[in-house]
Symmetry: C2
Subunit: 226 residues, 2 copies
DNA sequence: ACAGTCAGTGGCACCCAGTGCCGTACATCG
DNA sequence: CGATGTACGGCACTGGGTGCCACTGACTGT
């Protein structure tokens, strides 16, 4: 309960600070002003946040912990890429559960270069996490850059989905976008490992309902190519 | 020539600063100390470098300019992905032309978190450049995340190649690694653009030599899958 | 009930990165 | 030779971030 109070004050300070930043401009608001508006001392602000820019990312520690737990708790048998995809989805869900925070943060990071830098660094932490996870679990005969490339790829799709959502003011379906992107990644992986060199063998009995469905599907897709 | 002298002093200050950072530790060296060791005033250091951490990245402006020029000068007809790949290769070459700087920077960024953050931000700039280039030139029907994903992917491979080289003390061939990674990317793109989304429609007349050849070929390849 | 412990806090002094401003030395140009 | 422009030094000042000490209130064991 003490630990809940400390989180409450932390988030309270963060909210007040972000409101101030939005109203007066990040550079024009001193930590002193944030402390006064929050009715705490300057020293206390710096106990809860290691730096001024962290006031805009009060959830980053918990968030990273969530992703880490997701990866650690993934069933040992699952494909590592699938595990990372599941963790990424969980991460996105976590962001979506705090829409006000994410939206206000977006408004700030778009305008204040320093905060954008901090956001980039935050994402890098997340990428590093998934990268080391993949490096440990991916088959050792994979090219050395693959874990890094995959981690960057998945993070890019994650950022794209969240970015579109926040840019459109919450009108898109980021989870669907993420799923589509991840499907893309999965296909890339599959192509790499087997299907790109292996033929798809499809046997169809003539004039059955299944055959008709396949053929009309093919015909539809072929039309779209024109 | 004045502009060459200013670059000379800039690089001179940078070298002295990096040597000091390596010897005494980044946090233990004040900008004042760097200025003294370089026989210039503190104010002059801050005229050449916008911040203390930039002392370790004296080439970043030129480097970014190089990449930007590479992209801008790419022939209009070339595939945008190929243009980015060429620019990335040029970027890697530029790094390799300053091995001492890159190696010392590596030693510092591995140890000093603040400098690693700065490095991440530096890479982000480069990714943003290629991303906007790709977004402008990629076919508009491509998925929205593709430019971001491609840029991240290419940067990851670039970092991986340079990172391996620097970790192994210059014993690897980073340009070859980059080329291999880029070949991988190119294959992904080909699969994406045609083979994976478009159906292959194959019509075979029954019982002709062509049909028999196709069928035996398929059968042989299917056997290899077991 | 009482002393001890510990987490959260306030207050203060201090360091140092980064900026604005002004004066100066020197090179270039008309 | 005066005028302009550029690189630099000196200096004062703001503000982020830290170390240290003292206080308070809640919890714990005897």
């Amino acid at each position: 309960m003490t630990s809940r109070n400390i989180l409450e004050t932390k988030y309270r300070i963060s909210e007040i600070a972000m409101a101030l930043f939005l109203k007066e401009g990040y550079a024009n608001v001193t930590v002193e002003a944030v402390a006064e508006a929050s009715s705490v001392s300057r020293r206390t602000v710096f106990r809860h946040f290691q730096s001024k820019d962290e006031l805009v990312f009060p959830d980053h520690t918990e968030h990273l912990g969530l992703v880490e737990r997701c990866l650690a708790e993934s069933a040992p048998g699952t494909d590592p890429v699938d595990a990372v995809i599941a963790a990424t989805e969980e991460s996105l869900r976590d962001f979506l559960s705090r829409p006000e925070l994410v939206l206000r943060r977006y408004k700030l990071t778009r305008v204040v270069p320093e905060l954008r830098k901090r956001e980039v660094v935050e994402h890098e932490r997340y990428v590093a996490l998934t990268r080391s996870f993949l490096r440990d679990r991916l088959p050792p005969d994979a090219p050395s850059f693959q874990s890094m490339a995959l981690a960057a790829l998945i993070d890019a799709i994650h950022r794209s989905a969240l970015g579109n959502w926040v840019r459109e003011g919450g009108a898109t379906d980021p989870l669907a976008e993420l799923a589509a992107g991840m499907e893309w990644v999965r296909r890339l992986m599959v192509h790499q490992s087997a299907f790109s060199t292996a033929p798809v063998l499809l046997a169809l009995l003539p004039d059955t309902p299944q055959t008709r469905r396949v053929l009309t599907s093919l015909k539809d897709q072929a039309k779209e190519l024109d």
